[in-house]
Amino acid sequence: MKPAPFEYAAPPTLDEALAILSENDPDEVKILAGGQSLMPLLNMRLARPELLLDLTRIDELGGISARNGGLSIGALATKRDVEDSALVRERNPLFMESTIMIGHPQIRNRGTVGGSMVQADPAAEYPAVAVALGAELVARGPGGERVIEADDFFITYLTTSLEPGEILTEVRIPDLAAGTGWSIQELARRHGDFAIVGAVAMLRLESGICVDLRVVIFGASDRARRHSEAEALLAGERPSAALFDAAGRAVGQSLEDPTDDVHASAEYRRDLARVLCVRTLTEAVERAEGSGG
C-alpha cells in the first residue's frame, strides 16, 4: 500500500491554489482535501497524479457561519466541525443527523464537507441532503465565482459539473422552514458504512395538509434524485398510511436503472427504496406534527 510518486503543494491561499491549477495540466493535478476518499485511491494506485494540491492549509476555506436564511459552510470544514457546531445543531437538525451517519470518528475528523460533495458518491449522505434542501455549491475558477444548484451539480456516479481548474469553496445550506418535518434513514451493513439505499423526506403541514414535499433517494442509482411523482401524490393531501404506501410504490416503480452489485440486486434496491420512502415520510410527518405545524 504505497502511493506512486507525486509532488505535493500546500499553498496558504485560494489565489495561490488557483494559480497552481492554471499553471498545470488539469489531468495531472489532484486536489487533496480530507483525503478520506482520495488517499485510499492513491494507496491502491487507482489514482496516479503528478501533483497533489493540498487545500487544508487555506484558512479562508474553513469555518461555518450563518448567512441570510441558511448556513455557509466552508468547503474545507470537516464533518467533525459540523458535529461540534452549535449553529448547525440549532439551525439544521437534518444536516446534523446526516453528518453522524457518515463513516467513523476517524473518517469524520478528517473528511470535509466539500470533499463529499465533489466525490459525488451515489451512496453518500451529503449529496442527498444537499439535493433535498436545495443547497448551493460555490466554486472559484479562472473565470471567477460560480454558484451551482445542488440538482445541477451532481451529474452521475462520481461526476459533478465542477470544471477542471475550479475549486469548490463553499456549500450554502438553506435553513429548514419553520414547522418542517424531516427524516433521513438508510440501510447499511453497519452503522457508518455507505448506504445500500437511503432516503430523505421533508414536508410541512398547513392545516393538516402536506406542502413543500421533498423525497430524495440515494444509493439506489447513479446519483441522489428527487422523486417528484411521489411528492405529487402527497401534495395538498392529508397524510395517511395509504398515501405513504402509494408514494413508496411510485418511488420503487420510477427508479431508473437501479444499481446491481455485490451488496444488493437491482430488485432488492427497488424494494428498499419503496420501504425507506414510506418510513421517512412517516417519520417526517411525526416530526411536523410534533413541531405544532
Binding site: M39, N43, G192
Partner: protein
C-alpha cells in the same frame, strides 16, 4: 527530487524527519522513525489499526501524508505508558484479555484514549459506536468494550 523536511511533535518530543512527498504518515512512523507500534491493516481507512491523534483528533495515519504533519502534534500508542507504568487502558486490556493476536490493539488503545479524553464516562453504546472504525478479527469486541469501560471507571476514580 529532494526529500521534504518536516518538523512535528511526536509523543511529546520535537521530531524532525525527511520524507518523500508521497509517503503516508503511517509509512514514515514505521519505516523512517522506526516507531512500529502503529500498525498497518488495510491502507484504506477501514480497519483503524493505524489510528493516531493529530492535534488531539483521532485519525487514520494511512490516510494522511507525512508532509501534512508539518507543525502538527502527533500522538501514538508509544506515548501512552509512562516508563514501565502502563496507561490504565493498556492495563485493563491485559486484565480483561482484550487482545489475542494484538495487531488491532494499538489502534483500539489510541481510539479509546481519544474517546475518554472527551467523554470520561461513556455508556457501552457510546463505546461501541466510537470504536466502530476499528476492526478486530480475534476477540469479538466484548472484552475490548469491557476493558475500555473498566479503564474509564478507574480513571474517573483517580480524578475524584
Amino acid at each position: 527530487m529532494s526529500k521534504r523536511h518536516v518538523t512535528t511533535t511526536i509523543d511529546g518530543e520535537g521530531r524532525e524527519f525527511l520524507c518523500e512527498d508521497w509517503q503516508t504518515l503511517l509509512d514514515v512512523l514505521r519505516d523512517v522513525l522506526m516507531k512500529t507500534g502503529t500498525k498497518e491493516g488495510c491502507g484504506t481507512g477501514d480497519c483503524g489499526a493505524c489510528s493516531v491523534l493529530l492535534d488531539g483528533r483521532l485519525v487514520c495515519s494511512c490516510l494522511m501524508l507525512a508532509a501534512e504533519a508539518e507543525g502538527r502534534v502527533i500522538e501514538t500508542v508509544e506515548g501512552m505508558a509512562e516508563g514501565d507504568r502502563l496507561h490504565p487502558l493498556q492495563q485493563h486490556f491485559l486484565q480483561e484479555a482484550a487482545l489475542q493476536c494484538g495487531i488491532c490493539t494499538p489502534g483500539f488503545l489510541v481510539a479509546a484514549r481519544a474517546l475518554l479524553a472527551q467523554n470520561p464516562d461513556p455508556s457501552e453504546r457510546e463505546v461501541r459506536f466510537w470504536l466502530a472504525g476499528n476492526l478486530c478479527r480475534c476477540t469479538g469486541y466484548d472484552k475490548i468494550v469491557r476493558a475500555v469501560l473498566a479503564a474509564a471507571a478507574e480513571m474517573r476514580g483517580a480524578e475524584a
